[in-house]
């Protein structure tokens, strides 16, 4: 039986080569997968004020510029960010849990006021929110910061996908016609599978 030792030798050789080559091939395959992977992000945008409109649109447009696949699901107050006319978005220091006691924008005299002590003063100033909003808008312009309308348009241009929560549309009594074009109207069941695949998923 001259064949047996020969085949055993060949088999041993095969095994040794496989052991040698495989780990490196597997590593290459994993790296190739990573390299060809398009990064993706899903965002749930829930807030409808001028200040909180920035995070979703800044992150979405920047990610799109980096070549990412981005989807934003607008729900609850976030739906306001999709209205045709968003010139009425306001900063609301009252009821803004993240906002410090002093206004972070506007001229020095405005920033130096300690608005919340007593809070009544702030709540009681007629048109306070209009002033705060105007000052934020001016500060934004003076500092070369994009407007929400601009960032929203840039996001759409860069193929960021906007999904409007149909349930909230009904809840708030909006009509589809109130919103900009290019929206998908869908629900959480549509959003979740997208979030599952995404590299980054954020609730804002």
């Amino acid at each position: 039986m001259g064949a047996t030792p020969e085949i055993a030798n060949i088999d041993e050789l095969i095994q040794r080569r496989i052991d040698e080559i495989l780990p490196q091939k597997i590593e290459q395959a994993l790296q190739a997968r990573e390299a060809s992977h398009t990064p993706s992000m899903t965002i749930i945008a829930t807030k409808g004020t001028l200040d909180w409109a920035y995070p979703p649109f800044i992150l979405a447009s920047t990610a799109a510029a980096l070549g990412w696949d981005v989807k934003i699901f607008f729900t609850f107050y976030g739906l306001n960010l999709l209205k045709k006319d968003i010139s009425d978005l306001k900063v609301s220091p009252l009821g803004n849990p993240g906002m410090p006691m002093k206004m972070p924008f506007g001229p020095d005299w405005f920033k130096s006021i300690n608005w919340n002590i007593p809070n009544l003063v702030q709540a009681g100033i007629p048109g306070f929110e209009s002033v705060a909003t105007l000052l934020m808008q001016q500060t934004i312009r003076n500092n070369g910061v994009a407007s929400i309308a601009e960032l929203r348009a840039l996001s759409q241009e860069a193929d960021v996908k906007f999904i409007a929560c149909q349930m909230t549309v009904e809840l708030f009594g909006f009509k589809h016609d109130d919103f900009i074009d290019g929206l998908d109207f869908a629900g959480a069941a549509t959003f979740l599978p997208e979030a599952q695949k995404a590299d980054v998923s954020l609730f804002m």
Binding site: L66, N143, G144, A146
Partner: protein, 75 residues
């Protein structure tokens, strides 16, 4: 350094310089060079990250009197 297209992003803040650069590059052809001028101090790190993620090579990144100058080669 020679360049094929010029982008003046001075006075603009994050994320506008990156967004404009992306748009400018999209209109160019492979191998062409885009020069970007910016005054946003965050753009130094941002353009490095942009180049790394998009594969458009950052040929140079410099500062001169609070103005930043970037050369990007289109992928």
């Amino acid at each position: 350094m020679d360049f094929d297209k010029d982008l003046d992003a001075r006075g603009l803040n994050c994320p506008l310089p990156i967004l404009r650069a992306k748009k400018a590059l999209a209109e160019m052809t492979g191998g062409q060079v885009l020069r970007v001028l910016s005054t946003d101090p965050g753009s130094v790190k941002d353009f490095a990250a942009f180049a790394k993620q998009t594969g458009n090579e950052l040929l140079s990144s410099g500062e001169n009197n609070k103005e930043f100058e970037f050369y990007l080669k289109r992928k």
